[in-house]
Amino acid sequence: MLIERRALNAELPAINEMSNLELCELLASLGFPVDGVETKDDQTVLEVDVTANRGDTLSQRGMARDIGAKCNAMLSAIPHRTLREGAPLFPVRLEADACPVYSTAILELGMVASTPADVVCFLSSMGSTAKQMPAVDASNELLHRYGHPTHAFDADTLKGALVVRWGRAGETLRTLDGVERTLTAEDLVIADEAAAIALAGVMGGDSTKVTAGTKRVLLESAWFDPRVVRRMSHRHGLHSDASYRFGRGVDPVMAQVARDLLAARLEDWAGAKLLGAWTAGQVPAARPAITLRKQTLARIAGTVIELTEAAALLRQLGCAVVIHDQYLESVSPSWRQDLTIEEDLAEEVLRLRGFDRIDSVLPPLEGAPLPLASSYLQARNVARRLAHVGFCQTVTLGFISPDVDADFAGADNPPEGRTLGNPLGQEFSVMRPTLLASLKTTAELNLRQGAKEVKLFEVGPIYRSTAEGPSESLALAVVWAGSLGGEDYLTRLRPVQAADLLGIIRDLGVKGAIALQELGEGMLGVEISLSALPEHEDRIIPKFIPFSRFPTVERDLSLLVDLAQPYVDLEVAMAKALRRAAGGCFQSLGCVDVFRHKSLPTGRQAWLMRLRFQGDDRTLTSDEVDGWVNAALEAGQGLGAELRG
């Protein structure tokens, strides 16, 4: 919302001496932060942020009124000649509750017309250009100065009575912007006997618009239900200065005043002659009083505020206040339609007192704090763990393109149930079935940027189509691409291998089968459900498991096996034999080296198996260990392995 400093001062002379900086601070403290201060044609113009509930401040006078309430200063009187109303020149029928009051006048325009220079200048401050058509320019000026939208019809284009009624399904109206609009029964329209001629509070119609040739104008100054205007504006995608204000609630009392002001301007600027003025309906009655209890005010404010002080502040806002023993009753002024509950009044009291006067106190702890959920800690811990071993956490958008989706989603997870009806574009239209789709793109980008090694992970929701709608679950995806090592004198450069990634995932505590995926050349990825990770352990220290203090005995067996020998089979067979032979003394078994070389027999490789034993209650003798190693060797030989001599 734009505020011209000169126009603001004219409404509230008390702030004449206030600097722009002070004014900005004051506005911010009232809830209207200033986004920018500009000078246009030597006028200072402030761009002020107004929240959706404060339709009453969407004008120079409205803003001045709120500042005046804060400073307890009087507004200037509106320079205004009250028109004498007479009998309607033709009928105006209000057929919908959404328009309780409709003031109008008919004027015959004079021959010469011009918009005064100061108004042209004011309109330019408001970011609008004078059309040099008094009916249009004056209406526009009033909207910005007093916040009440008005409209002028070319009276000679009207056919018969004027009706404010609901639209008829299928009815059409060409609005001033030249768009042909089909109406519904939820559209409030101004109509004549023949057709709809305006979308009430939103935009006038093309067929009745004022042109350079217009001789007689019919003025409209009414009040329309904000909800109805908002819905129409939304339905037709039509947002005008008028709908912006009506949609946020204007002052119904201003309907007649704005009509008078508009008529007076036409008389002054265009030598217009008033033919008649009248009002249909009446201003809605004031809303019922709102009760504000002293106790509620004290609770919200954090301190006792006397009702006399609260009443004085509310009166500065224009409220009519009656004080009782423990509460006050306040009737809001016609322009404050946003005040409906006790808390609203408390806020107004605090606002005028200044939010800076609110104390700073920590609330007492009432119940016992709850622990952090295991699932939250799990996600947080896994991220830290992966970061420590060299992986970077990514944050990528939750939606992907249908093409990419098709590459990744399983047949049991069709995209239809995960597709947005109104995406930003095709490429952002499907909620992803896997994080790997995004990680692949991100890894490729990093490789293109010259990264030799890419190590990424993401923790986030993945989506599944179900009958009830998209269902989401948390997943962890890890991608490792490029080559590793070669950056120091200890490790050689080599391509990333599946075993590298597998080791990372095993290290996280994932048991069972792990499905690695080759996402591209030299790019490996894996996704697991977060629930596959071990649960976060709540115990500070795990349960004690007795351990042996006797020395561990280590034996290596170098075995020649077929190149096609599945490792797991061999390990299982040897471990089984070792458990049978050594019982509890068998500790572990694993392959620590693989040797493939042309010096070995064709089709064979050498696996160096390391065996560990430990006694619970004694030092093992080499004889018994030899026996166990032999048992393991025999088990291996059963699978075609032989001792490498």
Binding site: R299, P363, P371, L372, A373, N422
Partner: protein, 357 residues
């Protein structure tokens, strides 16, 4: 070869020898083995020479032959294995010969927690001492949780398809536009037990979606951290005390807060919260546009309708709620010029901006 002439431990060592040679995975272990068997001192070979010296004359010849044969076998096997190992590791320069103690040691290469997650984690840590725990909700929400339960009127523009993403096949299912639906979920869950619990206080960090085109300051997906406290007799002073503590914990002891009136449908009174510019300390800089303050939060006292919707009596219970834009704060603190950097995930950016905790 008659090994019975030798002491039993040497005979036993010889039995293991072939296996041990094959098992030597690198030159170092092979050299140790070599020392053990054929070293000049304290090796099996040297011990055999001692045995030979003290052996009865009539055995000396036979024993000498056995010892020689053994030594030859050992040396031969060790030499072959050495050649094999050297061949296998031809390209790997031995550390023993290339090590220069002045060379900097190789450091472990770390990754990073994403800066946005890092900031959210930090906020959780900041609020933990005040008794807040973490609540999470789904990204797919209903209109009831995302709007109705938060006192957002039916004709509010935010509900429109120009602002909110809706699923095409499921009417009323949408991507949450803020973390506030977590308020609705939690309040409804605890409503039956609220007396026993003595109210609630929690933080809800998470991802949210709005239909904004991608540009340097907008993204269709971003993060918020929601905070909520419900108790008895909660007022604006409690909100101020809490946020004041939190901002000092986050930005340092100079970080004062300032409340300005504002409006959000789910709170009343509502406010926007500025924090004294963490970059210039309030003297004015580019980030705070010279004002010394930066806007960081929206907040207020929970609207009675929000409590009522969840089945909590607003005449007994009251509370406050606040919401922080994570990206906005992250950009402000780090002076990152372009929001898109956070979602591009260039490793160089992540490593520079993220951290390990």
């Amino acid at each position: 070869m008659d090994l019975t002439l030798l002491p039993p431990e040497i005979a036993e060592a010889h039995q293991r020898f072939a296996c041990s040679v094959a098992a030597s995975a690198d030159l170092d272990s092979l050299m140790r083995l070599k020392g053990e068997f054929t070293g000049r001192e304290a090796s099996h070979a040297s011990r055999m020479m001692d045995v030979l010296k003290t052996a009865p004359k009539e055995q000396k010849r036979e024993l000498g032959a056995v010892i020689n044969a053994l030594k030859n076998e050992w040396e031969e096997a060790l030499k072959n294995r050495q050649i094999e190992l050297e061949a296998a590791k031809k390209s790997a320069a031995s550390l023993a010969t290339s090590w220069d103690p002045d060379l900097p040691p190789p450091l472990p290469v770390h990754g990073a927690i994403h800066p946005l997650n890092r900031l959210m984690d930090r906020l959780v840590d900041v609020f933990r001492p005040l008794g807040y725990h973490v609540e999470e909700g789904p990204e797919t929400e209903t209109e009831a949780n995302n709007f109705d339960g938060l006192n957002i009127p039916e004709d509010h523009p935010a509900r429109g398809s120009a602002d909110t993403f809706y699923f095409s096949a499921h009417a009323g299912k949408l991507l949450r536009t803020h973390t506030s639906p977590v308020q609705v979920r939690v309040l409804q869950r605890i409503a039956p037990d609220i007396e026993k619990l003595g109210g609630i206080r929690f933080l809800a960090p998470g991802r949210v979606y709005r239909k904004d085109e991608i540009d340097p300051t907008h993204s269709p997906m971003f993060h918020q951290v929601e905070g909520m406290l419900v108790g008895h007799g909660i007022g604006m002073h409690h909100l101020k005390g809490t946020l004041s503590y939190a901002m000092k914990a986050l930005f340092g002891p100079a970080a004062d807060v300032r409340f300005r009136p504002s409006y959000f449908p789910f709170v009343e009174p509502g406010c926007e919260v500025d924090v004294r510019c963490p970059l210039c300390g309030g003297s004015g800089c580019r980030v705070c546009k010279g004002s010394g303050w930066v806007e960081i939060l929206g907040a207020g006292l929970v609207h009675p309708n929000v409590l009522k919707f969840a089945g909590i009596d607003p005449t007994v219970w009251s509370g406050f709620a606040f919401g922080m834009g994570v990206e906005r704060t992250a950009m402000m603190v780090s002076q990152t010029p372009d929001l898109r950097l956070f979602f591009e995930n260039d490793q160089r950016f992540l490593k520079a901006m993220g951290g390990l905790d």
